[in-house]
């Protein structure tokens, strides 16, 4: 509770005490009526003085229909009619409502700021032979920093020395610790649990993971949900319309209906004024979405705006990319098959004639094939290229490589040892290298050919993520109509995975351009209100991410491109988080809808009853303050969305 909250609470308590004193005194009737009136007026001035002043100054500045003015008019009107108690009660409860609102908003802001307590406060840097704590923002790229046990990693970098376990939960929402040793990348925001690490800084603070996440979360709200914009627009009309009705109620019936008392209708008009503030809606809808965004970021799901939260709630078709999303993307070389030897590269053949004995050994041939593939793929970041380099094990000699052209969805055309080498899938062989091949063995096959001579192939396998099947089942269980997988891989593998995971549809052998076409096609399949969610690794699927209603990037820790391109960022690489995201989104939207219907319903009902003379000022106070308090409490529920993961782990 802040200082001003305490002050306000004091005023409320004193005013309440005064009112009770007045009530007790008038009940026993031992005191002059005017004295009781005096006590009431004192309470009114104490509690409502600030509202009257603000109303007056707002009118001077040309703001007429603000809540201060309406409350002032309603309460002064009631007092004018001799309804002292009701007039003061309206003001008292209005102030209680305001205080409650302010405290609830403050609490939500704080709890979300608390979730985001990942900002590192210092970095240890060597100055004059001593480790000194400095502001992470002033550390330059290339500097060496020391991270002690218990400290937060201040900047992204690479471990030079030391071994430790890092807790990534502040960033990913997942409490699986990661190992860090020399050569590993570490990301800012993680907490060093055990050993001391020396890290070479690779990114300035503003570019570091933690700064980007904070920026994303803090600016999430600039893209509002449709419901939020609707409520804002609605509020713009609601107040003037209700006030106009109030004016009509006060003026017309006394003129038109014989024997109608002006006082009675004026009282009914005052009821309208009390209910005319759309506060409950205007505060509770943004608060619901804000809480939903906060709740998801606590789980390592960063959503870039209320509009995406709203869209996620309507998820009807979920399209997955295969590699890195449903599978681990850790391709491992399973088999190397050389093509007998007659297809050996020309250079090798010359050598072959000179040193025949070496190349008779099939193991040497296989090693040579792997070396060529690894050389050709030296510059590629594709997971397959990385696995080839890993299997090769040595640092490729970059001087042996000339011009390299990468054709996404095909493979690589590279100059190695002065000769053109084709390394890629079957399509690359038939379309670019002009070769006719026998049928591929099942699996991911990387063919290698030199100009028009086939050399051999390397068989590569990928593994499914443990939670992939649970993710698909989870989405089904919460009513997602269709799950689809897109892959550049061969039909055989695609079908096998689709069957293993229980996916509804699979499109295989796609180039990035084909993926865009397929998503376009799927967009036409959904119902008008349904939304298509695309989940990828965010590295080479930016166009598809942008096209889908909601683009989700997975495994974003350490990938700037993914954080940039997607609407929703899942920090770790657990696909089951998607189910959780949709659940949080649905809960948030449900709460927002409940608040809209409830607030408008109660207000509408009391307005109607008030106009007919069945509801008095007390009911109006409930329709204004009571409804707002209930709506706020409901909205805050979105913050604690339950952590059920629909069958996942």
């Amino acid at each position: 509770m802040t200082q001003s909250h305490k002050k306000q609470l004091c005023k409320i308590l004193i005013a309440a005490a005064l009112i009770i004193t007045g009530l007790v005194l008038s009940f026993y009737g031992r005191i002059d009526k005017r004295a009781v009136t005096g006590i009431y007026l004192g309470a009114y001035i104490l509690i409502g003085g600030s509202v009257l002043l603000r109303a007056a100054s707002n009118i001077r500045r040309g703001q007429i229909f603000d809540e201060n003015f309406l409350m002032a008019l309603a309460t002064v009107g009631a007092i004018g009619l001799g309804e002292y108690l009701e007039g003061i009660a309206v003001m008292l409860f209005y102030q209680i409502g305001e205080l409650f609102e302010s405290m609830a908003v403050n609490n939500s802001r704080k709890s979300i700021a608390g979730l985001m307590q990942i900002r590192p406060d210092h970095a240890n840097i060597m100055v004059d032979g001593q480790w000194t704590e400095i502001d992470p923002e002033s550390v330059v790229i290339g500097a060496l920093i020391l991270i002690k046990p218990g400290e937060r990693v201040p900047l992204d970098g690479r471990v030079v020395e030391g071994f430790s376990i890092l807790d990534t939960s502040a960033i990913t929402g997942e409490s699986v610790p990661r190992e860090a040793m020399a050569g590993n990348e570490v990301y800012s925001g993680c907490i060093n649990l055990e050993g001391t690490l020396t890290v070479r800084v690779e990114k300035a603070y503003e570019q570091s993971t933690v700064a980007r996440i904070l920026d994303l979360v803090e600016n999430a709200g600039s893209r509002k949900a449709e419901m939020e914009s609707f409520i804002t627009r609605f509020a713009g009309y609601y107040t003037p319309v209700v006030v106009a009705f109030a004016a009509c109620l006060a003026i017309l019936p006394p003129l038109l209906i014989p024997n109608a008392s002006f006082g009675d209708w004026f009282y009914r008009a005052l009821i309208f004024l009390v209910i005319s503030c759309p506060c409950a809606l205007v505060i509770s809808i943004p608060l619901s979405f804000f809480s939903g965004l906060g709740s998801s970021s606590r789980k390592g799901i960063l959503i870039k705006g209320g509009n995406y939260l709203e869209a996620l709630a309507g998820a009807e078709i979920v399209v997955f990319d295969k590699t890195g999303t449903l599978t681990k993307g850790n391709f491992e070389v399973e088999d190397i098959v050389t093509d007998g030897g007659h297809g050996a590269p020309a250079g090798a053949q010359e050598e072959h004639t000179r040193k025949l004995s070496i190349y008779r050994e099939p193991a040497v041939w296989r090693e040579r094939l792997l070396e060529l593939a690894a050389l050709a793929e030296s510059y590629s970041t594709h997971p397959i290229s990385q696995s080839l380099r890993r299997a090769y094990g040595k640092t490729p000699d970059l001087t042996r490589i000339g011009k390299v052209t990468e054709a996404p969805g095909y493979g690589i055309e590279a100059e190695v040892d002065g000769r053109i080498l084709f390394v890629g899938n079957r399509r690359l062989m038939t379309e670019k290298a002009g070769l006719t091949l026998p049928a591929d063995p099942p699996g991911t096959v990387i063919h290698i050919a030199a100009q028009d001579a086939y050399i051999g192939h390397i068989l590569i396998a990928d593994q499914l993520k443990e939670s992939a099947a649970a993710a698909v089942a989870g989405l089904k269980s919460i009513g997602v109509k269709k799950t689809v997988m897109l892959t550049g891989d061969v039909e055989g593998i695609g079908k096998k995975i689709a069957w293993q995971l229980g996916l509804d549809q699979v499109f295989a052998e796609l180039t990035p351009v084909d993926k865009v076409d397929k998503v376009e096609l799927l967009m036409k399949e959904k119902s008008p209100q349904g939304k298509l969610v695309y989940v990828g690794d965010g590295v080479n699927d930016a166009p598809v991410l942008a096209m889908a209603d909601v683009g989700v990037a997975m495994g974003a820790l350490g990938s700037d491109a993914a954080i940039e391109a997607a609407d929703v960022v899942i920090m770790d690489d657990d696909p089951a988080k998607l189910t959780l995201a949709v659940q949080i989104a649905r809960k948030t939207v449900r709460i927002a809808k409940q608040n809209t219907v409830f607030s408008l319903g109660v207000k509408g009902l009391i307005l109607l009853l008030g106009a007919l003379g069945f509801a008095g000022m007390w009911a109006a106070i409930f329709a204004d303050v009571g409804v707002m308090v209930i709506a706020i409490m409901n909205a805050v529920r979105a913050l604690g969305a339950r952590d059920s993961r629909a069958g996942a782990s």
Binding site: S57, R61, E218, C277
Partner: protein, 72 residues
């Protein structure tokens, strides 16, 4: 040019909506959005008018909520 500002002492959700609407109508403003919960004003204005627009925005804000100030 697009910039985000913090609105200090922004206490009224309805006022935030009014400010957003009024600032959005200023000359040269491409988009204006106020998030009441994060107290952030995201303002996108043509470069040449940025400073004068910011001044006018502050005037609008003061008119609607006297205590509220734009801080960068």
């Amino acid at each position: 040019m697009k910039k985000t500002f913090l609105l200090e002492d922004l206490d009224c959700a309805l006022c935030a909506a009014k400010m957003e609407k009024a600032i959005g109508k200023l000359e040269g403003v491409e988009s204006a959005s106020i998030n009441f919960m994060t107290r952030k004003l995201s303002l996108s204005v043509v470069d040449s008018l940025f400073d004068s627009t910011l001044e006018q925005a502050q005037k609008i804000i003061t008119k609607i909520e006297p205590d509220c100030r734009i801080v960068s």
